[in-house]
């Protein structure tokens, strides 16, 4: 049920603020998909409107498609999970993973240190072979594969010139003459590799991330990723859309629903423009640019850049 009619009563504040509300704090900045679908049905569908008849499941389909598309580049609604690494130095991708934004580990000060994706190797499926190097098939005649490829295995076992995080903390990520491993390696090196934050290998087919030997059991890994926003679409009340993009979602639904109907095709071009404009607006709104914060950043412009 929509809550926007009564936002300031005790039922809408959490126990933290002395309220009795069960809604998640900050809920009001978002609107759930049920409300969006219901609003759309009442405002855009009916006698004398461009959509005279529309089953709710069709509206729900386009509402979900909108959420999916918007999740990729408009909502900026990256998800983030913190996971403790096991001795296998592997992590499974989140169940609603679509793409990653950043993978990092948490250092002793709680800072996220970005882990770079390895570029010198790629994930591969290791075909199971017998001692005569012949492929091994299962009882149904299908080719079998090793649980972990030799590529990933060797990647994880490879020795790194920095072997422990104490070293990293001491030098704070900078090279020092005491670090003999850096001898002769400064010239021609790649800046993206000039850090001590380890590397990972992403295997999308296996749905796993392998970490190299820089890491050890118990390290905290943070995966920031984008989803399609529908990880919990079994209950639309849990699929949330920022209110700053609500109108863009309606416009996108309207355009998609009219373009496939002969009766609405004439207006589709207009709705397409409207949807595109509202998506742009939503993107700008959600880019979250604040004048004060921007001013602080721009003040750095006056600093001398020392060489």
């Amino acid at each position: 049920m929509a809550v926007s009619r009564k936002p300031l009563d005790v039922d809408n504040y959490s126990a933290l603020d002395g309220g009795t509300g069960t809604a998640i704090p900050g809920y009001y900045s978002r609107v759930n998909l049920n409300d969006i679908i219901n609003n759309f049905m009442i405002a855009y569908v009916g006698d004398g409107k461009i959509l005279t008849k529309l089953p709710r499941y069709e509206a729900a389909f386009w509402a979900q498609r909108s959420v999916q598309e918007f999740s990729y580049d408009i909502f900026h609604a990256e998800k983030s999970i913190e996971v403790e690494l096991s001795s296998t130095l592997q992590l499974s991708l989140p169940s609603d993973y679509v793409n990653y934004v950043k993978i990092s580990y948490v250092d002793s000060n709680g800072n996220h240190r970005t882990i770079q994706n390895t570029k010198t190797t790629k994930a591969a499926k290791g075909v199971a072979q017998d001692q005569d190097f012949k492929y091994i098939y299962d009882q149904e005649g299908n080719l079998t594969f090793n649980e972990i490829s030799e590529t990933a295995s060797r990647f994880q076992e490879s020795e790194k010139f920095i072997s422990n995080k104490d070293f990293q903390n001491y030098f704070d990520g900078y090279y020092d003459d005491d670090d003999l491993s850096s001898f002769g390696r400064r010239y021609g090196s790649e800046p993206e590799r000039q850090n001590v934050n380890g590397r990972y290998l992403l295997d999308l087919e296996a749905g796993k991330i392998y970490f190299d030997s820089f890491f050890s059991e118990g390290d905290l890994i943070v995966i920031q990723y984008i989803s399609d926003g529908l990880g919990n679409n079994g209950d639309f009340a849990n699929v949330l859309v920022p209110k700053l993009a609500e109108d863009a979602v309606y416009a996108n639904m309207l355009y998609n629903l009219t373009k496939i109907r002969p009766s609405g095709a004439g207006a589709a071009a207009l709705y397409k423009k409207e949807a595109a404009a509202k998506m742009r607006n939503a993107k700008i709104r959600l880019s979250n640019l604040k004048v004060e914060e921007l001013a602080q950043v721009l003040r750095g412009k006056s600093k001398w850049i020392k060489h």
Partner: protein
Amino acid sequence: MVNINEVYKIVLTITNKDNRGYITPEEFNNLADQAQNEIFEGYFNKQVLYESGVAIDTDFSDPVLIGTEKINLFYANSSLTLSNNSWALPNDLYKIGVVSVNGVDADLASHKDLKYINLSPLTAPVSGQPVYIITGSSIKVYPTTVTSGVSLEYLKKPNKPKWGYLMPSASQIASGVPNEPIYDSTVFNPSSDDYNATAKSLNFELHASEKNDLVYKILTLAGVTIKQNDIAGFAQSKDQQLQTTEQ
């Protein structure tokens, strides 16, 4: 609601003029039922006609609104019960309106569409997005995990009207009361009382504004029954006149 005794009196007045004939209560009741059903079923065609025509939305004269008002006299709702994976529809159902699952409207889907709806991860029915199909005198609700909370808002069939009567007693006849059926205004209960019994009456359930139409339609049918073409012709012309006025 239209009082059945008033309609019967008018019909008798017109048909009895010049001793053309007499319509018995049993004949009248059958004709009344037929007339009521004709008018009731005509609502839905008229509604489509009104909605596609010129919009008149002045107070009290919006044909769509008036039609809606007449139809909604037959609004009913019922909680459905699950049996063998189906939800039985009420016996007095005329048209299905809204099927709700725990307060959420369910969509009607065709049997063919349902297969695709179930296959798509974005349209697969969930408790917040239920779908139903009609299977004979019952419906099937999806997701099939729903086991309670299904309710139906629907239009019920109009009950058969009944002009009930009592015959005068011997003492009443002796005191000068004519030996003719006397109208019994006791309310007839269609679900418990017997239509074959002569006592108790049930008014027409149509909107009060349908009184004239009822009279004309019954007269048309009665004219055929008593073989009086002039009555049937008169009633038909009055009925057409009325229909034209309503449009």
